[in-house]
């Protein structure tokens, strides 16, 4: 009886740890979100022109100020991102503002949002794309140091 009870307790503890790990997987997924203020032509031929200036604020702090053809980025933890966007059509134009809530795809490390297309009400597949880093030049092979007598870089 005692053995059975302790087995059940162990099983519950294991299930709780597994659930905690799964929860960490969900809430801890990091993404790099890129915001483009660039011109874009959709597959159907619709052209979206950049704004004069776009400011992006996250938690009240400015994370990017984009002029035409600029790109800004923000590091995000989790699958939801809410940003405040301030826009100006021209240099003397009045700043408009609004809040955007974004659902980030779990399987993508980097996501690019084209703000002009997004704000103009384009389809998601038009304004959102995956960021795939391209190596600028061929990397030279790194020499691996496996010498255990090296001091740890504590300082």
């Amino acid at each position: 009886m005692k053995k059975k009870r302790s087995f059940i307790f162990r099983l519950i503890a294991l299930a709780l740890i597994a659930a905690l790990a799964a929860w960490m997987f969900l809430i801890g997924r990091g993404h790099t979100v890129y915001f483009d203020n660039k011109s874009l032509t959709a597959p159907d031929g619709t052209a979206y022109e950049p704004w004069y200036q776009i400011e992006i604020l996250k938690d009240g702090q400015r994370v990017a100020r984009l002029k035409a053809e600029d790109r800004g980025m923000v590091e995000v933890m989790g699958q939801k991102l809410t940003v405040e966007v301030k826009l100006a059509k021209s240099k003397d134009g009045k700043m408009q503002g609004g809040t955007i809530g974004l659902e980030l795809p779990y399987n993508k490390d980097g996501v690019i949002y084209n703000l002009p297309a997004m704000l103009a009400g384009a389809q998601e597949e038009v304004y959102m794309s995956e960021f795939i880093p391209t190596p600028v030049e061929e990397e030279t092979e790194e020499v691996v140091v496996t010498d255990e007598f090296v001091l740890p870089s504590e300082e």
Partner: protein
């Protein structure tokens, strides 16, 4: 007169037991003014290093309690923590959730390695320290095989920033920038310019309480009994081998979690060297705090970290000020780390032999007394 002699004896025993901490207090007291470091910088550094190292050093206490000496095999737990962190970094789990996930993932690896280490240590009873030291080298080879060849080829690693350019194996350094000091800064607190890693200290405090509680549990009592006398413990019905394996498993698991805390503070993993010296420095710090091979307390851990790391911080500067070469200070602190372990082991062995010879003498005396008594009885008859 008698009380004076007793007091003198007590003071002598205290001095003998605390000779290492006293020596380090003197070294620090001499080196601090020479180094020219400001008190606020020094305190800041010590507080940071306490947060970084205490958890790891606490992992050494349980095997000492079980009479297995200083667990050089804690390196195994450190490797488990590193493997978990590499995987979590590749999965792009960041911040505190990344840390928690790495801790959870390190546990199965640590249990497996700890069980393996405990099994071997049971076969090498009485030679646990040297055996665990050599096991750590053996497992380091396995770790290198996994990290250098299997990761990227068999174990999927997606990110080029982690993987070597050849397509498999892990780079010399893995960045933990998105995890860096997240635990330390979770509850921000600065007192008189000194940054206090409150959350890390809370975690350490909880572990201290768990260790105190654990000592009072049935398993904790069993471990103490095994540590005092294995034969007596076995006669009392304690499964000695199992108890010893559990103590090593607990130590390895705690070392794995401690390594995650250590590396989140550092902000990067030196893939092939982070773990290799960690055991040595943790053991040295514990011994500097006044612990011995068969006795260590939580107080020893804290005192050891403060003294050992004060020496670590001031030695290069003091060396540079005295000799004009900071490398002298570097050599000095490495020399001291190894020397303190050597001295502790020699002292332990000497005391053990002394105790055995005393017991032998007592036994011989008792036998002689019995012989004399027998002869007397024969003569009388």
């Amino acid at each position: 007169m008698n009380t004076n002699a007793k007091k003198r004896e007590k003071a002598g025993a205290f001095l003998r037991q605390s000779s290492v901490p006293i020596m380090f207090v003197i070294i620090c007291a001499v080196c601090i003014p020479i180094s020219g470091l400001s008190p606020s910088y020094l305190i800041n550094e010590i507080v940071t290093r306490m947060g970084r190292n205490v958890f790891l050093i606490l992992s050494l206490l349980i095997p000492i309690m079980a009479g297995m000496g200083l667990n050089f095999g804690m390196t195994l737990g450190a490797m488990a923590g590193e493997i978990a962190l590499i995987l979590v970094s590749d999965w792009q789990i960041v911040g505190i959730p990344g840390m928690v996930l790495a801790m959870i993932f390190s546990v199965p690896f640590s249990i497996l390695l700890g069980w393996f280490c405990g099994k071997i240590l049971n076969m090498a009873r009485g030679r646990e320290m040297i055996t665990s030291y050599i096991i750590s080298y053996f497992i380091n080879g396995v770790y290198q095989l996994v990290v250098l060849y299997l990761m990227g080829s068999v174990i999927p690693i997606r990110h080029g920033s982690i993987k070597l350019p050849r397509g498999y194996g892990i780079r010399n350094t893995v960045s933990l920038l998105n995890m860096r000091q997240k635990l330390d800064n979770l509850i921000p607190l600065t007192i008189a310019g000194v940054k206090i890693p409150v959350m890390t200290f809370i975690v350490i405090g909880v572990l201290c309480l768990v260790i105190i509680w654990f000592r009072r549990t049935k398993l904790g009592q069993d471990m103490r009994a095994v540590g005092q006398d294995m034969q007596v413990a076995r006669d009392a019905g304690i499964n000695v081998e199992r108890t010893r394996i559990i103590s090593i498993i607990i130590s390895t698991v705690l070392a794995g979690i401690g390594m995650v805390i250590y590396l989140q503070n550092m902000g990067n993993i030196a893939t092939y060297s982070s773990h290799s010296q960690i055991g040595m420095f943790c053991i040295a710090a514990l011994l500097v705090g006044g612990a011995s091979v068969d006795k260590a307390s939580i107080g020893n851990v804290f005192l050891g970290v403060i003294l050992f790391h004060t020496m670590f911080i001031v030695a290069p500067k003091a060396g540079a000020a005295i000799t004009g070469d900071s490398m002298i200070g570097e050599y000095f602190r490495v020399f001291v780390s190894y020397a303190v372990i050597t001295v502790a082991l020699v002292m332990y062995e000497t005391q053990k032999r002394k105790r055995k010879s005393l017991e032998g003498q007592k036994l011989a005396q008792a036998q002689k007394g019995e012989q004399n008594k027998g002869q007397k009885e024969e003569n009388e008859a």
